[in-house]
């Protein structure tokens, strides 16, 4: 997919996830909106995958370590054809498999995550298996910035560098907010780049809501032989809705009917702009 198409796709996914959360009356709205561009770049352009063969051995792996921001992932997996789109209506409902965290009973989900600080260790194991078996697949692990306070993240960081996993890419959705407020107020993380570099990772910092930067960085990562790569994707929580951006309670705020209508109107205008731009090109 071309950049302009990816931008349009991200706007469409944002609209779908807002409708889904509104319908279910539950969801992690802010985090799902901040990571939508990252996931769109991965699932429509960067990763080597085949929705018809979700367990294909040489597929690139994606681990959503910040498992709570799953709404964007459900919408993307459905849109890519891993499961029928109608199933999105069951999100968070009684007996559904589309729960509020990744569930590996659903095609396209590798592991059950949700307890923070687990995903990177799992990703290290997968990347190590890829290396030992001489396979070429890459492993992408998306973490939250609040999640960086979990000690297990750093155990895995140490192991990733120790085993020289240059097929492993960690991405931090650096939206700067967690449920109680700013990450720097809750438990200071900065200088986050220096911490990861000190652990032996190749560290890149980008605008995580800029599709060009995302595609450029993710397509070529990991870029340093013998080192895992960590991308600090600086994002805006609740990106795409003017009145929700950077507002902490949108972490898991369910939009009202009126908020939904306003948000969809904003996103429709953005989507129309991209579609027009795409046609002109």
């Amino acid at each position: 997919m071309e950049i302009i198409e990816l931008k349009a796709k991200a706007a469409q996914i944002r609209m779908e996830l807002l409708r889904m959360i509104h319908g279910a009356k539950a969801g992690h709205t802010g985090g799902s909106l901040s990571n939508t561009d990252i996931l769109t770049a991965l699932y429509y352009r960067v990763m080597n995958l085949d929705p018809a063969r979700p367990k294909w051995e040489d597929r690139d792996r994606f681990i959503a370590s910040k498992g709570h921001a799953v709404e964007s992932l459900w919408c993307i997996l459905a849109d890519r054809g891993f499961f029928p789109k109608e199933e999105l209506e069951t999100f968070s409902q009684f007996g559904t498999r589309l729960i509020g965290h990744p569930n590996n009973k659903v095609p396209g989900i590798e592991m059950n995550t949700g307890a923070l600080g687990h995903g990177l260790a799992i990703s290290v194991g997968m990347a190590l298996a890829s290396k030992r078996d001489g396979r070429g697949y890459r492993v992408f692990c998306l973490m939250g910035d609040g999640e960086q306070a979990e000690g297990s993240v750093w155990e895995a960081a140490m192991a990733g560098a120790h085993y020289k996993l240059d097929n492993l890419v960690g991405i931090i959705d650096r939206n700067g907010l967690q449920i109680s407020g700013s990450t720097e107020e809750v438990m200071g993380l900065d200088p986050l780049d220096e911490k990861w570099a000190a652990f032996g990772w190749n560290v890149l910092s980008i605008d995580g809501n800029d599709m060009e930067q995302l595609v450029d960085t993710l397509e070529t990562a990991p870029t340093v032989p013998g080192k895992p790569t960590l991308i600090i994707a600086n994002t805006v929580k609740a990106k795409g809705i003017s009145f929700a951006e950077n507002v902490p309670h949108w972490h898991h705020h369910v939009p009202s009917d009126e908020e939904l209508a306003r948000a969809l109107a904003e996103l429709s205008a953005v989507l129309a702009g991209y579609q027009q731009e795409g046609q002109v090109r």
Binding site: N104, M111, H118, I122, G125, M126, A129, A156, A159
Partner: protein
Amino acid sequence: MGNKIANRQVICDTLLELAQSDRDIMVLASDSRGSAAMGPFAQAYPEQFVEVGIAEQNIVGISAGLAHSGKKPFVTSPACFLSMRSIEQIKVDVAYSATNVKLIGISGGISYGALGMSHHSVQDLAVTRAIPGLAVILPADRHETKRMTEALVNYEGGVYVRIGRNPVEDVYESADYDFVIGKAVTMRDGSDITLIAAGETVRIALDAEAKLKEAGVSCRVINMHTIKPLDEEEIIKAARETGRIITVEEHSVHGGLGAAVAEVVVQHHPVPLRLLGIPDEPAIAGKTKEVFEHYGISAENIKNLALDMLRQ
């Protein structure tokens, strides 16, 4: 003591043998290759060995990732840390995600008797058996450890195993018997009372049976090597046929083998039941035998308890 071979060494020897033809077998250690007796494996198969350092959460997470990629990881780490520090990884990454990880808790129970409660693992059965999708096994001697290890290689799913540090007396004459995960072994048949034990206490139960036999008591001994899935049928049968049960375990009396047996007995065929194990306190320091005797986990005490129950 006759036997000089520790169960941890048996696991290493068995995996060394099997890893030759099964390249998916992997062993992981948390700076524990020495205490796990896995040095020879690390040397023989460096490509099938992973050291993670002192990081028990990490060892389980990495193993889950390896298993998800088709490997058969055996995590070897002290039971006290593996069953507690990493319990969330065990619950989520192994059991819930259904990854094929074998967790081998070494130096389990009160093996590290003099090191204090931080190094005892007498709550591990309680926490692991509460997790859906996880099997829990305690082999009784070196022969059972060998048969169990062979079975684990071909068993699909998460398993927590606990073994002790030192060699234990044999309870089987050889490894030539039927070992099935989830199927208890009746070591001695009897009709007056049943002793149910697991792991290192099976030997003690057998010694108690010999004493009871001298006293004219017909005692059944069941080796409940699999705590989960529990062989409920064998427990109900024992309750029905012998009318009295004593459980003997190297674990807190809360939540372990005795509690598991009690859950079955009380719901299906209530009979008098006594639980022998470590009481709800930090266990006293000492060698295994000393600690066992202190808490009445001895053949003599079991005999007396059984005779008491028979008089009632």
